[in-house]
Amino acid sequence: MAMRIVRRQVPLVLTFLTGMIYVSEWFVRETVLTDMTTGIANFIQTATVFVFLFSTINLTVIHVARIRRQLRGPKQLREIFLSSFLLAMIYIVGIVSAYYTVVRGWKLPSATPEYMWWYNNWYLSSSATAYAGTLFYIIAATYRILRIRSRESLVLIIGFFIALLYTTPVATSYIFGLSSLGEWLDRIIVTAANRAIMIGVGIGAILMGIRTLLAMETGYLGAREE
């Protein structure tokens, strides 16, 4: 019973109080309330740092267990083992470089050349390559899928055609009226559609917020114990 109160009731009360402080602070500019929201924000900042720590430990536990299983028990897929092994190696490099960072006087990793070398030569290039790789999927899809198969798809494709041309700077420079047409579409049609979506989402968020404050929405607490 006591555990149930700790697990269910306490978080609900905390959510209500925190939510009410933020809502009140928005409307009532009182120093006490502002100080309280500052305190909560500082706590969020600290919690964010702990999330990094928690996720690092969590990932390490999962992948070290996977490597140990591979070494002792039945063989798994080679690719899975290799990716776990690689991840563990990168962790070790990261931890070692962070250790040197700390030894050098508690500076952030961005200040050390070792970390920056690793970041620029490994992470930056591989991350940018992965992102750039999506280009091929997009252009292949544009060529293969966007076909005029029906009247409805014709409307979609006319929109696509104008949008693509309008976002091509050289096309807007040379095709008369394209700029005005694109601007009109953006300013009237796109804005109207987006406003409808935003207002809908906004109303939904308000309702969800009220439900959460009143403990009618408890999904964020995880699965309910019966």
Binding site: Y22, T34, T37, T38, I40, A41, N42, I44, Q45, T48, V49, G105, W106, K107, L108, P109, S110, A111, M116, Y119, Y123, L124, S127, A128, A130, Y131, A132, L135, F136, I139, A140, T142, Y143, R144, L146, R147, I148, R149, I157, F161, L164, L165, T167, T168, P169, V170, A171, T172, S173, Y174, S179, E183, D186, R187, V190, T191, N194, R195, M198
Partner: protein, 300 residues
Amino acid sequence: MAEKPELKEKKTIWDKLQDLPVSSLFILVILSMSIIYVYPIGLPVPITQMAKDTFNALNTLPSGSYIWIYNAYATGSIAVHEPGLIAILRHSIAKHFKIILWSADTPIMLFPRVLEKIKPDLDRANYVYGKDWAYLYIPGGEPIWANILQDVWSVVTVDKDGKPFTQMPLMVDIKNRGPTYNSVNIVFFQTTGGETVDGMVRQVNVRYHQMTGVRLIGQILEIMVPAARPYYNAGNMDGIMNGGVGAAEYELLLGRPGAALKVTDMLSLAQLIVLAYWAVGNVGFFMKRYSRASVPKGGG
């Protein structure tokens, strides 16, 4: 029993047009982008009203104003966001603004690249770190932005390298001016995600625009601009830098052509190639359907 040979329909020109090898499209796009990267051809870039508004939001502020720059881009969008940041920084330095940059994660690692490119501007304008500009590391999202604008000293007291604010005249001056929003004339943010736009509008524009006249501009990926457009149309944002194209427009308005113009050249040509392939594919598809429909049906 011998298998019947499969009857293969002969491929017409329309079949071929709608089944052009995608690898040829890839090769053409890669080739065109590579050539333009080495030899930029300077294709025209028209200046949109949105770009002019973004530029004027900064340009019409008096010298000595405070610009707060929030970097939230990652390595994937570096080709778009880095030139945008460089253009804004160059403009801010030319206008002798006080510059405060802050970010939550990745851009701190990417900033040395930017610093290398703006160093001549900083030196020319005699900018001193800690006195005229600062870079802060502040993890956290919207609740943190709200507190930064209230009182940045209550959120952090050191810069990204651990230097205390007490040793930075810029930050001491901000504290002496009262609540931090008194020292915020314009906020420029860079993001790849939509939630940053919503949060910035709520915390900067909605909260302080009427009180202090703070301006809000942002560089958003092209794909996210339609979602942010209602804020710009309603006046919640003073300008939007439309991804890489917006950065190129800004470079032109500033009179300092840079990497964004080169990227825009590449974008222009690649998009035209994709458009040509798409048109050819659709002509093939349409003609094939048309020729099928016009063939008389056999009977007997």
